[in-house]
Subunit: 357 residues, 4 copies
């Protein structure tokens, strides 16, 4: 009996990308799947997990583990939030709203991209109960930038995730070679609504000169936690804490920005050690299975972001496909925790993961 | 002249899996061959042997080596026992009885799965002379659990191997993707005989809350050696000794439970060192050839479990196929010992294996 | 929409070699692409970059980075010079003049091969504004050798790059297997113009017995910087400085000379440390993307040579193809600098690159 | 222009094995190419060279290097002897005599197998000027064993190479799977001539109980240098010296005996260091190119044995094919020496090779 690739219920985490590749327009698949330059970092995000080994303890005397955890004060059913991604409607008409509903159904969290064609309010309406954070590209026009934040907070978004690793767009050869371009009708909501005609590419709105002071400003002005996304060094993690961040995301932007940057998981241990208890540390990059998540927990992460896996689920089966991916992840995490001998994410200590040799 | 894949006498250790894959129903091949999640640990069990190098001594002045050894007080013709595996009848109608007869014929040992459709008595009848141990999943119903042990001991099984690494079933994507399910008529003997209808999946009978105290209890109650299977850390090996185990099996359950766990062979050295002479250490995972066995001996194992190789032999040629695999293994072990300059397994000292670089 | 391989504007750095392979005569592709012996070093030049990881800093508070830099006193738009290569006309009729024009258009620098069929004056005429250096194989006939240098200086070439790693031609199996031979009508200009008939292969003119004294002699006689190309050890770098070199090129001759030599990028750090400020250090070998260039900068290089990528661009699209490759490289370098948090090549400190683990 | 695989003059070192595979009967190719068990060591012999890097010095001020050297007092044109191999006539009718003539023509040395169908006298007649050593499997019948040695010395063989790593034949799956068997008419000369009918397999004549005392005995009895072949540990190298050996061969028998043994090149450095000046050290295993030879020299070898490359040359083109392989090797060695900055093998110091990283 072979599974039917059109059936979201048949999605498996190991094969969902291939199924998605078969569903998607090749140009869009190139856009979503591709990375920068020689794609060393893109591949490294996944193979980087081979540098670590999990060290389970047995006969741990409890029934089952829960994946539930607390991230920046929010209760989540699992230590997973969906990564902010643009152009979700090109993967499937369900788009960001579909992901939001999948997140709400499974108890994960969601990061909405600044460049989403949906407004924060639209996404909130689709999934009012979901934990939602706003991914923020700080805009050259700080008024517009602040309006977006205010609008998101108004819609119940509960944290600001400032993306720090895109002062310029990475050199993405696969994207360029495919002839990819932003579709006319996929302009970001903030462009459509307020600056129609001002630019054809949302990227032009972004301010590359953002400095650490912006973290202080956002933290003091909006009264919600500010998270800095794109940290790959311990010294920058310390700076984030110094400037009032409540959290950081260890990330190389899915291998789409600086090729040659380390796998996110490889950069995590030193950063988590430097961060200590001053900020909560999240990991973004290469997470495909629950065992990857618990590896990140053991190396000091509080939770992880999952991007492409959810996107492939959405591409294959819309909201049910994305939900299926999150369900599988949640299930795999609980299984991996139990097999590690940990009753919950909080119990995954540093002794549960070793560098390979 | 090309060998005939239908001829058990033509089986070779390097190709038996491919032959078996051609014989088996794809769903069952997926079940038997697959591992958890991204199958990192599944692959690692085999490639882990690349981390070590054998260091032969020459001109050793004796005729031939013997593979014969003593494991938990039993004389075996080679330091090999067959790993406990469920659903052997789906590989070949000869099933567990076929493996038992192959074991008896070659002088290896055998571990019978708790979930076998054959009773210990049936297996004992098929191969009364074989060294047979009972693999035990401790059941929620301790009475039933103890009945199974008692029945096995009655039938001449001489050790209890408590599997400690399955408090929950691993996330096995290949299995799920293949549509695999337990066949109606392959219920474990213990379910059929005593609890018919109580459950459709034997796994539901298992108690995930087993603790180290159960090792003490089994050891004191049944008067046979208790072995804890599924150890991957030195501290758990010490605990096993503290709780009265006579042996441990270093194992990641053939890569089917916690993906990301180290290759069994890589976990062995530190465990063997911690265990010292307090417990006998067995190695389970990735053994394909006699040189793998002697590598394990050099790293501190007393013997190894061999699962899939025997299963592939059974799938290709029934009992004669399984026997051929064991014969080849025994022969390769004796050859490898002689080439190492060791007259017997007991002579394989720690100086015979080096970590690669 | 798929890119058109015949359109130079569609060239991408990741795929230009495949496109070139499809354009070129197989024998010439073998000549250009091949390396020595087992081609370990050829492959290592590219994979060697995997031994290092870039360590970006975020929120760096400036608009954009410039790739512009200063090499041996020359202002270049990027830290890139084209490597000296023979037989460019066999890649495309535009030949060395095409490369020179591409270099002039993009603000990079160029090294002209001793064995070019074009004279320095011809190349200078094609691209009077380009930074041009003469690659020198010291000839047995020192008079002829000096004439060539003088002619080049007269034509505005501003440095002498003495190639030190070709006392004999490497063992290039792919070349030999392809039946490659120097075409009758591609004799070096210096042979055609002055020594016609003296030899059929320019290589016979070269003096293998060149010693460090030649570096002193050239430096004192011609009054332009002398660069020694082909250094792979720290002690030789120190000797180069001792003998008056202004620069060195860390290079294994594109993997075409001594197979088994380390990747150029792997040899760089120790050499750069030994060289200190005494000589400017350039890196030659395996550079395919802008991220490779910034890796070299972080490990102590002032600039890099780029050979095959420019050659493939020339093969695909003549001068516009070569120009496209340089434009892409310049753009990728500026992007990679910005992502590293460095406003210019001079800001790429040693802390921006780590050995992988 | 593509080379003609039937033309010995077109043989290249990188492709000769593929050509030979196309020429040979598949069963014989399996016999010649295969290794033991999982063939880890077979592959490791070649890939082991990747663990080292050559470190050339430039501007070395001499014309050309010579590959000529002195091994056990014999002048050779290059530090290469052909490895002892059985069944050469099945590769090509020219057989051992063909190899001997190729060796004589090129100035290399040759080791003749105990199991050759040709007598030492026949081989000597074919190539009276070649440096010839006798590879010796010590026979159970010491009288016959000594007769063979005496006959070889009579025929001008000048050293005894005692093979120490075949007390039993390795587990060679590819051989077995291919249905390979010793052909009736390829019995060793010593069987045919003196013990016809005594055995069908020459291997049965061999004495596995040989001890170090045999080295003493041979050395004192025959007055020619004794070399022990098959050393993989420093302590055994010291024992060889203690027992009067003049040389040792670091070898794992081409990966055909103990799978899991280290690559010969990886075992060399510690052995050469332990051996010091007490014995000459040769390296056998994985040599495909001249750069491999100089790597071995840098790690302490005086010379290398080359087996399969010469065999493939013989298979492709008979004696001219084998000669072509040796010519190419000699040429590559001289080139590699010159590129290293060494005028002869004796100049290749330990500083010319580094472990990778």
């Amino acid at each position: 009996m072979t599974a039917d690739p059109r059936d979201p219920a048949a999605i498996q985490l190991s094969t969902v990308e291939q199924w998605a590749a078969a569903h998607l327009d090749p140009t869009w698949y190139a856009y979503f799947a591709g990375g920068a330059a020689a794609e060393r970092t893109l591949r490294g995000n996944v193979t980087g997990f081979d540098r670590f080994e999990l060290r389970p303890r047995v006969l741990a005397e409890f029934e089952a583990a829960t994946a539930a955890t607390r991230v920046l004060g929010h209760e989540l059913s699992m230590p997973v939030l969906t990564a902010p991604m643009a152009f979700m409607r090109m993967a499937h008409p369900d788009g960001d709203e579909g992901i939001a509903r999948a997140v709400a159904a499974t108890g994960a969290g969601m990061l909405l991209s600044t460049l989403s064609p949906s407004t924060p309010a639209e996404v909130a309406a689709a999934a009012p109960t979901a934990t939602r954070w706003l991914q923020l590209y700080v805009l050259r026009d700080r008024g517009l930038s602040d309006d977006l934040v205010a609008e998101a907070l108004e819609a119940g978004f509960s944290a600001i995730v400032l993306t720090a690793d895109l002062p310029v767009i990475g050199s993405r050869g696969r994207e360029l070679a495919s002839g990819w371009a932003i579709p006319e009708d996929e302009l970001p909501a903030l462009v459509r609504a307020r600056r129609a005609g001002a630019t054809e590419r949302g990227f032009d709105l972004l301010d590359p000169t953002v400095s650490w002071g912006e973290v202080d400003r956002l933290a003091s002005q909006f009264g919600v936690p500010v998270v800095v996304k794109g940290i790959l060094r311990a010294d920058d993690a310390v700076l984030a804490a110094d400037h009032g961040a409540a959290g950081i995301v260890v990330s190389n932007h899915g291998g789409r920005q600086l090729d040659g940057a380390p796998p996110a998981i490889a950069a995590l241990p030193a950063i988590a050690e430097a961060a200590g208890d001053r900020v909560e540390v999240l990991l973004d990059g290469g997470v495909r299975h629950g065992s990857d998540v618990v590896t990140a927990l053991g190396l000091g992460a509080r939770a992880v972001l999952v991007g492409r896996q959810v996107l492939w689920g959405l591409a294959v089966g819309g909201e049910p496909g994305a939900r299926r991916v999150l369900e599988l992840l949640g299930s795999e995490i609980a299984v991996a925790l139990r097999l590690l001998g940990c009753a919950s994410p909080a119990e995954v200590g540093r002794d549960r993961v070793n560098p390979r040799d």
